[in-house]
């Protein structure tokens, strides 16, 4: 008996000793999770995973169809064009610059319809609200493989471009313009209650949209030479109108399963992008979720149900460049089961 007690004490002691280690692991796990958070920078269902780097930046892998809008200011005024990436052809550009001349490159993506550039450093993006894609703005430019310093937007074109379609190359550092809402879903645990929804049905989320009624204009002022604040953003023309919806790109794992079967434990779905808090006013947001209902034998009972709920974010100031991890707890009502004949039989 003493021996048994000693074994239990040993186990307990080890558990106590390991506890800080697990705590540490938890912390690292959090860090790892950050690394794996998606930066939904694609159009359509494309998705790129960013890997956190030591210098506070992550390498960006472009996706097919990506368009960056470019404003290049130089000796002969401003040149407006775009960088375009295709899976087959790689990067291409219509930003034609004079050889040997110095330019400042101001870049953002994805390209929006209502963008303008004025003066030497003011980029205006209008009618921003929610977005499927991360909206990014350049904070530094350098020749290929040179160190990119935030606040330095200058670049000198090769003085002797060669080839049939001569090109010169730049490296970029970008920063976020929007805040991100990263969503996790769970459903109530039915326990052993045979009448609880989770013991009768399963729900698979097939599409999630983020909506807001708030839109605004961002005026981005590039601060050359200021590595601490390469650009500053001034928001204006804040308006409330009809809801604007933006699809949230699901994580790769969710895509592979054609959706997310929600369980009592929280599971990650994906992130959507929204304008941050402007002058103390946080945008009102909603989630519109499309889902299918299955019975416990995985037979599809209903397809394409839609539910929309207002979304709360506890922090008042949502700031650009920040991910807000939001947990959504799903509480199914009897409205669903009352419509299904087999469940009525079961209930009564």
């Amino acid at each position: 008996m003493k021996k048994l007690v000693k074994i239990w004490l040993d186990v307990l002691t080890m558990a106590v000793m390991l506890l800080p280690l697990f705590s540490c692991s938890e912390s690292e796990m959090d860090g790892l999770q950050v690394k794996l958070l998606p930066s939904t920078i694609s159009g359509g269902m494309e998705q790129t995973i960013l890997t956190k780097a030591d210098n506070g930046y992550s390498d960006f892998i472009p996706y097919d169809g990506l368009q960056m809008e470019v404003f290049a200011t130089g000796p002969n005024g401003m040149v407006n064009g775009k960088f375009t990436y295709t899976a087959d052809g790689g990067w291409d550009s219509n930003v034609n610059l004079e050889a040997g001349k110095e330019y400042n490159l101001f870049v953002y993506f994805p390209k929006v319809d209502r963008a303008s550039f004025s003066g030497n450093n003011l980029l205006t993006l209008s009618n921003l609200s929610v977005s499927t894609n991360d909206v990014l703005v350049v904070e530094g430019v350098a020749a290929q493989n040179a160190t990119v310093t935030p606040g330095d937007f200058s670049f000198t074109m090769n003085s002797n471009p060669q080839g049939q379609t001569p090109k010169d190359y730049v490296d970029l550092k970008m920063d976020h313009l929007f805040a991100q809402l990263f969503l996790e879903f769970a459903i109530e645990d039915p326990g052993n209650d045979p009448f609880k929804f989770g013991n009768l049905r399963k729900i698979k989320i097939t599409e999630v949209e983020l909506a807001t009624t708030t839109s605004a204009t961002a005026t981005i002022s590039f601060n050359s030479g200021n590595s601490e604040l390469p650009f500053s953003v001034s928001w204006s023309n804040v308006q409330n109108s009809d809801k604007v919806y933006a699809k949230i790109n699901p994580l790769d794992a969710v895509q592979e399963e054609d959706g997310l079967m929600i369980t009592p434990g929280y599971q990650q779905y994906g992130g959507g992008y929204v304008i941050p808090t402007i002058n103390g006013t946080k945008p009102e947001m909603w989630l519109r979720v499309k889902y299918d209902v299955y019975d416990l034998n995985d037979t599809l009972v209903r397809e394409g149900d839609v539910s929309e709920n207002k979304l709360t974010v506890s922090v008042q100031d949502m700031v650009r460049g920040t991910i807000y991890k939001k947990k959504i707890f799903i509480q199914p009502t009897y409205i669903y089961s009352l419509t299904d004949g087999d469940l009525l039989t079961l209930k009564f």
């Binding site: 950050v34 219509n94 074109m157 190359y169 970008m174 506890s314 920040t322 939001k326 707890f329």
Partner: protein
């Protein structure tokens, strides 16, 4: 049988009757010894739409006015052709109906024009004919474009009959100017698209006729040649947009292609006629709108029956810039509690 004829005699008489009957049906010189007025046509130069006499024959009808003077140099004039359409066929050449016949004692004056129109042509007191509603600028490639040509002929009937085989020979020339712009680019692959053109300058430049101006053309019958006049009209506020569609510029001079093919009512660029007319070209480069380019077309006036061609060359300088390595600032993470409870 005595009252009849012999078979041979009967056949001879029948044949003679048939020959006479046939002779009365056809031909142009068998009624009362009169000589019919016949027409022929040719085009002096190749041009935008009516590019050859064959084109005129196949695709257009001619309208003709003609009168005769009862006595040479007399003021008594009789209208013989009043906007009479002439149609061409391989069998009959240029023909009209009903036929008219030369009055050998008189002198004739003709003005012919094409394409034929009932609504927009008129004669004016035997002195002239007028063609109305001619747009100042036309895209020659439009199906509705009108490339008017005019011909004159003025002789005693005797001359037509004895020297010209009884035929009025109509030698046409164009009363409008033809302005063509061609383009190509050199250098590395770039998509240049010409999206528009305008004539004239913004201000303090050379005035040109308004884009929507409509002209009338008056041609005297007794001129030595077709040198009619257009009525003067309103002047534009310096610059007019030309009827030109989008055009993707081809690469290399060997592939040079026509951007614009315009019919222009002749005009002088300003009152002094000394200024060179500027042409502004609006274009995009790889889909991006560029600052319009203004070039001088080197003339101060468009003259009738002249073709003007401007060749544009787009040159590329420098190179394009593309990104290679892109880094994105990491997100800052914040947990948001408590959870939302959503009732579905």
């Amino acid at each position: 049988m005595r009252n009849g004829c012999k078979t041979g005699s009967c056949l001879f008489l029948l044949s003679l009757l048939l020959i006479l009957a046939t002779g009365c049906k056809g031909g142009t010189e068998r009624v009362s010894g009169q000589v019919a007025i016949t027409m022929s046509a040719s085009v002096k130069q190749t041009k935008a739409i009516i590019s050859s006499i064959d084109d005129l024959k196949q695709n257009h009808s001619i309208g003709i006015y003609g009168f005769k003077e009862q006595n040479t140099n007399s003021a008594n004039k009789f209208l013989v052709f009043d906007n009479q359409p002439l149609h061409y066929s391989n069998e009959s050449g240029w023909s009209y109906s009903p036929e008219r016949y030369w009055d050998m004692q008189t002198r004739y004056s003709f003005v012919a024009y094409a394409p034929f129109t009932v609504e927009n042509a008129q004669n004016s007191s035997y002195n002239s004919i007028i063609i109305n509603k001619i747009p100042q600028y036309q895209n020659a490639n439009d199906a509705s474009a009108l490339d008017y040509i005019v011909a004159l002929s003025n002789n005693p009937a005797k001359t037509y009959v004895e020297n010209y085989n009884k035929t009025v020979n109509l030698v046409f020339h164009h009363i409008l100017a033809n302005f063509q712009v061609w383009a190509y680019y050199e250098g590395f692959d770039t998509e240049f698209v010409i999206t528009g053109m305008s004539l004239g300058a913004n201000s303090n430049g050379q005035k040109v006729p308004a884009a929507d101006a409509v002209r009338s053309y008056t041609q005297q019958f007794d001129s030595e040649r077709a040198d009619g006049v257009f009525n003067s009209g309103s002047w534009a506020t310096y610059r007019v947009t030309l009827p030109v569609g989008d055009f993707t510029v081809p690469k290399e001079s060997a592939n040079m292609a026509q951007v614009a093919n315009l019919l222009v009512v002749p005009f002088i660029a300003d009152e002094n006629g000394v200024a060179k007319i500027p042409l502004t070209i609006y274009y995009t480069k790889n889909g991006v709108e560029q600052t319009p380019a203004t070039v001088s077309i080197g003339i101060s006036a468009f003259e009738s029956d002249n073709k003007y061609r401007l060749d544009l060359k787009f040159e590329q300088k420098g190179a394009t810039v593309v990104p290679v390595n892109i880094q994105i600032k990491n997100w800052t993470e914040t947990e948001v509690d408590p959870s939302d409870i959503h009732n579905w």
